[in-house]
């Protein structure tokens, strides 16, 4: 029954996609590496608290400010907390902020953008005006303003990050939908009696999905950076919660006195995560590009 279920790609298509993904990964080892990095992040986020050697919140003033050693791989901070444990445990919070904000903006911005590009007219004008207004602010500055106004909580960091990414999603979805609005295959779908909404959902959306996925992966990195930046200046996450941005902020004061490890390791963790999603986004772009399929 390939026909009845064929709104989604037929199994043959799925198998072909997997085969293509395998081909891309073997052809482009960087994407393979990025995927491996992604798995590391997932494992840390899910199992973090169970695999770390120390309690990330337990302070031990006797062991404060120790350089990395066999006992403390990443050293200890000014309160003697184990930085390795804190960095690993922080993965879950940082990833959660990014995942939730991206999911939020994907749903809101994606739908708004597709509707805007496909229907045009007033829908387009109103949505366009909203994203233009958001874009009129330097995005990080707007995020600061939103968090300051809504209140200094993690939830509001998620919301602020979603809001500042909104225009980006709208723009991608809108232009992709607008290109296809008058495409031959959309016209053909109209001729076969599909309503506009049906065309939007069954014809336009699946065709835009791959590009939106790439966009999601690329903005994940940006969302992580943004959330870390906000907590670096003291918004959102409060100490002593382990979070990469705030940990770098805690270590900043010790950089000038040479205790580099306090800020370095959470900073590297941040870089690792963002780099992973950027590489993954570039790799995904290759996978979804039908021109490169055989």
């Amino acid at each position: 029954m390939t026909l009845a279920t064929a709104d989604t790609p037929a199994p043959r298509g799925l198998a072909a996609t997997l085969a293509h993904a395998r081909y891309v990964i073997s052809d482009n080892p960087v994407t393979g590496i990025a995927f491996g990095m992604f798995l590391v992040l997932v494992v840390c986020a899910l199992l973090g608290p169970f695999i770390v050697p120390y309690d990330p919140l337990a302070s031990d003033t006797a062991a404060a400010l120790q350089a990395p050693s066999a006992a403390h791989w990443f050293g200890t901070d000014n309160l003697g907390r184990d930085i390795f444990s804190r960095v690993i445990v922080a993965t879950r919070l940082d990833m959660a902020i990014a995942v939730f904000s991206v999911a939020l903006v994907f749903a809101a911005g994606g739908i708004a953008g597709i509707a805007s590009g496909f229907f045009g007219g007033w829908t387009d004008r109103i949505i366009g005006r909203i994203s233009d207004t958001i874009m009129a602010f330097p995005l990080f500055v707007l995020a600061m303003g939103i968090v300051a106004a809504l209140g200094n909580t993690v939830t509001n960091i998620v919301i602020a990050t979603a809001i500042i990414n909104f225009p980006l999603y709208v723009r991608v979805a809108r232009s992709e939908a607008a290109i296809r609005r008058q495409a031959g295959f959309v016209q053909a779908a109209r001729l076969t009696g599909n309503s506009e909404w049906r065309i939007l959902l069954t014809t336009i959306l699946p065709n835009i999905m791959p590009i939106m996925m790439v966009q999601m992966s690329l903005t994940m990195g940006y969302a992580i950076l943004n959330a870390a930046g906000l907590s670096f200046i003291g918004l959102g996450v409060r100490p002593p919660t382990p979070e990469w941005g705030i940990m770098v902020a805690e270590g900043a004061a010790y950089i000038v006195s040479g205790e580099w490890w306090i800020a370095l390791f959470p900073g590297l963790a941040l870089m690792f995560a963002v780099f992973c999603f950027n590489l993954l986004g570039d790799g995904l772009r290759d996978i979804v590009d039908p021109q490169r399929r055989t």
Binding site: M1, L3, A188, N194, T294
Partner: protein, 601 residues
Amino acid sequence: MHGIVDVTAQAAKTSEAPSGPLLEVRDLTVEFATRRGVVTAVSQVNLTLAKGETLGIVGESGSGKSVTSYTVMRILDRAGRIAEGSITFSGIDVAHAPESAMRDLRGREMSMIFQNPRAALNPIRTVGRQIGDVLLQHVQADARNVKEKVIDILKQVRIARPEERYHAYPFELSGGMCQRIVIALALACRPQLMIADEPTTGLDVTTQKAVMDLVTELTRERGMSTLLITHDLGLAAAYCDTVMVMEKGRVVETAPAERIFRDPQHPYTRKLMRATPRPGITLKDLLPEEPDVPPAPAENPLPLAGEGRVGAGASTMATVSGAGAVPLLKVENLLKEYPRQGAPSAFLSGLFGKKAPPEERIFRAVDGISFEVKKGESVGLVGESGCGKSTTSTIVMRLIDPTAGKITFDGEDISAIPAKDFAHHPLRGRIQMVFQDPTESLNPRYTAERAIADPLLRMGGMSGGAKLRARVAELAEMVGLPQNLLERFPHQLSGGQKARIGIARAIALDPDLVILDEPTAALDVSVQAVVLNLLEELKQRLGMSYLFVSHDLHVVGLLCDRVIVMRQGRIVEEGSSQQVLDAPKDAYTRELIAAIPHPPV
């Protein structure tokens, strides 16, 4: 030698061998490094071009004709390389000459004009300065007299008001005018060889003729040699001394132009020649002598399963076209207006590629036209780009709403139903369309089977299962699409196969009227021949009516009973195909017909 050309070492060499050919290519093989290994694009090509000679290289897409010409100029992209063979241009070994020597040759001794003239010009530099760049590069002018010389060249390519146009940007000029600028660029330094790569593809037929006549005149005047690269055998035969036919990277035949139509030697040339639409032939004449691909109706005598609406009786009746037949579609005083660009919503204007001259606020794409299509009749709607033919067909299709006018389909006024509601109207299934670009008209995420099944699922009352499968298989057979291709996605199919899917989808609901919007414009001629015959056969079998929208009078003449010629939103002439083609009454129609290249038969 030519007056302006400096007496350089190369020129000296040329004059040592005055009797030799200007360009000689021996056993040329060109390879491309791709992701899937090395691909041979051109293999063992030989050609000789004498001074003042015009050679046409003809072939369908992928024949290697463009690669051959790029190799001669040595402007292949990075991935391509000359694997074997030699190219000698006026005594110079092009394959091994240093890049600096090649640069001196390009533009001054050999030059090239390209397919898409607008894209071939730097969009943000005035055309005058672009021509000036070439003159200055080859020391044909200096800073003081360059403008004067450029204007002189613009005059030579018949650009009106050259002083003004000197300061124009390409986007301010029409396509035909841009092509003249490209020609001016190519001729600026009076080279000995000009390579024209599909110089008229994409231009309107009247512009096409003007451009070709200009090229011929200017190159003859200067005693230049020309390589004309084209997919159009008729064009090559009309303008060239010798024609070389290429297929899949190899030369299959080289012969004088007057012989190639009269007495083609190679089977591929014969096929190509037959497939070229020309006056005084029938659709069947387009096909190769030995029919291979399309299943002839005789092999397929089974009646249509189930659907009784269109019986055998109807189809015999349908073949009797013309007098007394009932009008199926009646269009009265159809009018479509668009606001001109620059209206308040500049925000949205990017979405539409409208090109509107800024004379008025309102632009009339269709200006009060009326016509009829009778049951079982094929009507051609012909005109150049911007004449309103596509707008008309899209309105008749009920995809957009007319500004005014009435459309009656089978006795029912369908212009009153808004386009967005028409999708659910019972009549939707009875008016269908075959789109211009088969690739673009297929959803890249649907298999062939799913694409054909779409109308049956939506409007045919089917919901999957064996019955649907059987119907899709039947449709595929009707359009000659092998069953084993049904599982494939569009990017795994050839242009001709995709065209067949588009046709199968359009006839799936047994429509009464099918609108064919340039259905073969994106196809190679041999595929076009097969598709046109398929359309004719399906019409006979199913008793449909066609409204055939095209820019090509010959093609329309072959398929249609009646022809309507449009210009600037109005109908200028209407009549039987034969009458319009053989004895056109309107001056514009005559101009259109005259513009089609006439091979020396």
